[in-house]
Symmetry: C2
Subunit: 368 residues, 2 copies
């Protein structure tokens, strides 16, 4: 049974992935209905606001059969038991007298979390959970962070030398990595709602922070932390050209929003704006993922506040020696207290290597 459970749950994941890029910020969900070891229905969540995967799958199954009695429903995420944009899936499952429900992962949404399972069980349905839960978790890690922590999924991306430097002491940083890695960065940008950098990165590099080099249907919003509003119009980000730039500050200077330039005031704390305040702001206005591109002061803030989910290191095969360290403003007094991440993926590009680390404590502590 275990093998067939895994097989059908893998299929749910494959189906779920078909919704990628269309359902966000909803989770990716796929569903399969099996009767006498034969798949009689398949479906997935196709589009934000549209039918849940379970609804599509039950509809699909009913095309070929009249009754779902004695069938088993597989789904990678716990069925909902509340009225949202659509009626609760649990009611539909109960109505069709499905015998057993196999679930990959409990829904981290506090409105669901276990309630769907309880409702099904109360109706006499056999419920099994935790099948391929790690994979089901990874499939929806962004959604899980969003819903459980009420903040965007946060990726720190650093391009550094073998010895962890993002620039020489003269601030020279062009180019650490090669064009293949820069393309990778642009793909990464296209997958995020916002790109965030600090003021120093603007004055040193004057970046555009747009998606180039790769095809993309959207341009993420650019976010800059400029506490005292020191950035002038000479910088590309401030020129009121698309896409939108949001500037977080704690200055009392008068600001004037323009079409592509928006100012948000946040209180500072010990003369520093807390990044946790910024990301909550962004979440509340509808941004669900942030790519943080530096510099080391900003990276260090996210690390100090332990508010990041992924660290992507693009490592160039170069030695810089003395220079500016990636996270130099983060201080540690004992190795035992060092932040330990989990190396999840390695990608070999032309000459550079990409290491994807997950921040266990954030991303995995909600896993069941």
């Amino acid at each position: 049974m275990k093998n067939s459970d895994h097989k059908y749950m893998s299929l749910c994941i494959d189906l779920a992935l078909k919704g990628k890029g269309k359902v966000e910020p909803n989770p990716l969900v796929g569903c399969v209905i099996v009767k006498k070891n034969k798949i009689i229905g398949k479906g997935y969540h196709r589009k934000f606001g549209a039918n849940h995967a379970e609804v599509n799958t039950i509809k699909n199954a009913l095309k070929g059969t009249t009754s779902l009695q004695d069938s088993v429903l597989y789904v990678n995420l716990e069925p909902c038991s509340h009225f949202g944009k659509t009626p609760p899936c649990t009611d539909l499952i109960i109505k069709h007298k499905i015998k057993k429900v196999v679930i990959g992962l409990k829904d981290p949404n506090p409105l669901v979390n276990g309630k769907g399972i309880a409702k099904l069980r109360k109706a006499g349905i056999n419920v099994k959970t935790g099948i391929l839960s790690q994979k089901c978790f990874e499939l929806n890690e962004k959604f899980i962070i969003n819903i459980s922590q009420k903040r965007p999924f946060i990726t720190l991306k650093v391009a550094q030398s073998i010895d962890g430097k993002i620039a020489l002491n003269n601030f020279s940083s062009r180019w650490i990595t090669d064009i293949f890695s820069r393309k990778f960065t642009h793909e990464l940008r296209a997958q995020n709602d916002c790109i965030l950098i600090g003021r120093n990165s603007v004055t040193q590099d004057n970046p555009e922070l747009t998606v180039r080099h790769v095809k993309s249907l959207r341009q993420p919003v650019r976010v800059v932390i400029d506490k005292d509003l020191k950035l002038t119009l000479k910088y590309k980000l401030i020129k009121n050209t698309p896409p939108l730039t949001i500037i977080f500050h704690s200055s009392l200077k008068k600001t004037e929003d323009k079409k592509y330039l928006k100012y948000i005031y946040v209180k500072s704390n010990n003369n520093i704006i807390q990044v946790s305040d910024i990301v909550k702001h962004l979440y509340n206005i509808g941004y669900y993922s942030i790519l943080v591109e530096g510099g080391s002061f900003v990276f260090s803030q996210f690390i100090r506040e332990d508010i990041f989910d992924e660290l992507i290191v693009i490592s160039a095969p170069k030695i810089f020696g003395d220079g500016i360290s990636s996270f130099k403003d983060f201080k540690l007094d004992s190795i035992a207290k060092a932040k330990e991440l989990f190396l999840k993926d390695i990608i070999l590009l032309n000459k550079d290597i990409i290491l994807k680390y997950k921040n266990y404590r954030n991303v995995y502590r909600h896993s069941n």
Copy 2:
């Protein structure tokens, strides 16, 4: 023909590897004789000072046939044409009227370099070179460095955090990596003739620098750079216990060699002992490989003098932030001048990752 050339040369490499650990500091050499697309002889260099691979292979072939006329001999390294411990292999090949010789790599030994090939061609033998030359090169990289640069093969090994720190600012460095990585380090030690560190590493860590945790037939010699002879008897390395410790210094203090403690005076230059002087000394007294284990001052010297062949980074999935950078005493004024290495291998251990870089300019510039 190309495919069969590759097939037979691969076999030579496999045969050559059987001599590993027994032929050093000689090169690993394997040989195959083919007649009418059939292998009629195989052999390899089995032991330092014993028959060359070609001799063993010709002997092996003659067991089953009376004549080697019209046969093709494959060998990963150019046959020798000089009298060393054994007579020249070229003469034997010519004597047996072998029709064609296929060679992986020209011998980097200045006593051979091309002369063997010239001699064979002069005798009317068809000679083909450069088959799997990259692999043949890698097989004998240590030997090639030894013979072409008259110095040991030098590996820098650094254990660092994601952000390139080998210690916190309070010098705490235990433990950056886990026990699996430490075992890897001990295996690495067992493969080298010497382990070299600087004085600061002795005073900070008081290491034994021996091979533990893994089985090893030998203990490498321990080498310390202690310019002013400041190290006292309280350190494990200085206690006159096996294995031998060699201390390089440029002090005028009187020194007294003991059974397991040897002092070597080297002139300093601008108050620094050049590591190139040290490694040449070690080569001249019969050490063919050095593992450099730090600290950052010593690493930086090897990088500055560009006298290393391999950099092995053991990267722990931890963030240190501010701390001591791996190569902090190496300075660079422009990224264009950065040392660019070649990422050759990646090994995943328990939590840590091992990245093996080659120093192109040293190791590969002699490749043909």
